[in-house]
Amino acid sequence: MYDQVNSNKRRSALLTLGFVAFVLLIATVVQYLMGVGPIAFVIAAVFAIGSAFLSYWKSDSIALAMSRAIPADPSEYPRLHNLVDGLCIGAGIPKPRVFIVEDSAPNAFATGRNPEHGAIAVTTGLLNLMNRVELEGVLAHELSHIKNYDTLVNTLAVTMVGIIALMSDFAIRMMWWGGGRTKRDNRDNDSSFVPIAILGFILLLVSPIIARAMQFAISRRRESLADASAIEITRFPPGLISALEKLRDDTTVTSSASRATAHMWIESPLARVDEEGKLSRLNRLFDTHPPLEERIAALREM
């Protein structure tokens, strides 16, 4: 368990370093192509370090806001709060904030940089579908993510992937606007806009791959690990097994989730592409979650 915590802290540091390096690399390329001097590098450095800090301190709020999560009122959701209370006593961690996502698809996620700043969000669909022991299993799974510091890595990834996506968006816009303007107003500057266009194009190609690879590195194994630690808390495998079976049989797509937050949820929130054909096999390679069938089988072994 402690190894898991340490490896997650190490991973977070690597992720942050990788992110800062990536931004600085882009800045160097821009500087080289446009010849704007060291200013670009300094701006990028400030931006990268600033956003890394922002990711650390604010990533939980960002992830919650992105999923349109609202705080769960204890008087309206007594069962949810009671279950979280009990599990936290069993796991020996402080109680995280509890949130509700208005969504008919059953799903849940956890976030927060450490157990003291943890938060759990569940969809209304999950509350409707699961009975008490099943809900307990799911919540124990999410609490294990917080306890093992998986959420630190996950939420950092959300913000950083988001920022990379934003940057590529920005570069693409610049590409269109710049391209449009040069033709009419300023033919002399033409040469400086072409590199930006190329850069934008490269970013456009590269950033989804980076984003996917980042999430891929993050979530697959830890889902099974969190399942195991959840059982360590509840001591009742059938609860989580039957919850996962319900999730497997449910085909609704979580509409509150986006690509950036996909890896945080207990079940992959994105629609599964046709299981046949080569394309789907490639898709499976990038899948953020191991198949539920495998997780259920692993739990049955316990």
Binding site: G86, I89, G90
Partner: protein, 184 residues
Amino acid sequence: MGVIIAIAVIVLIGLFLVMAYNGLIRLKNKVDAAWAQVEVQLKRRYDLIPNLVETVKGYAAHEKDTFEAVVAARNSAMTASGSGPAAQSGAENALSGTLKSLFALSEAYPDLKANTNFLNLQEELTATEDKIAYSRQFYNGAVQELNTKIQVFPTSLVAGMAKATAREYFKTDEAERGPVKVQF
């Protein structure tokens, strides 16, 4: 050269003593905190029971034996409280048993089961029972950790210095541990 080695050995031993001592103190505090948590949940259960009994009485007044059993079990659990985990576990487990029969009884009264006050109390008590189970699990885990540390060499050497003594487990009901019997 010999002096340096001697100093290094002494420093290492000192370092080990400090770490072992601090580890034991930390564990001792963890066990105390865990026990405090158990007591909070037990107290919460004592507080909920009178309300529950009053509510059920309104619908099933003639089930007097069951009420009396619950109230008696609550009182004996309350008198036992503060006497330590091992002494308390018997009374607390008896209380859990009588509460179960109270809830089983409520199944026969549809009006009672439709009462929102009763449903709220039932949710609260179920949750409290869960929390008692979880806090017991956490407490027993902490006790096991501490007791092992005290017994194994070389931390056992420091145990006296840290005034760390083996603690009692908060045991579950013997009947609960057996296989569940299903009757149709």
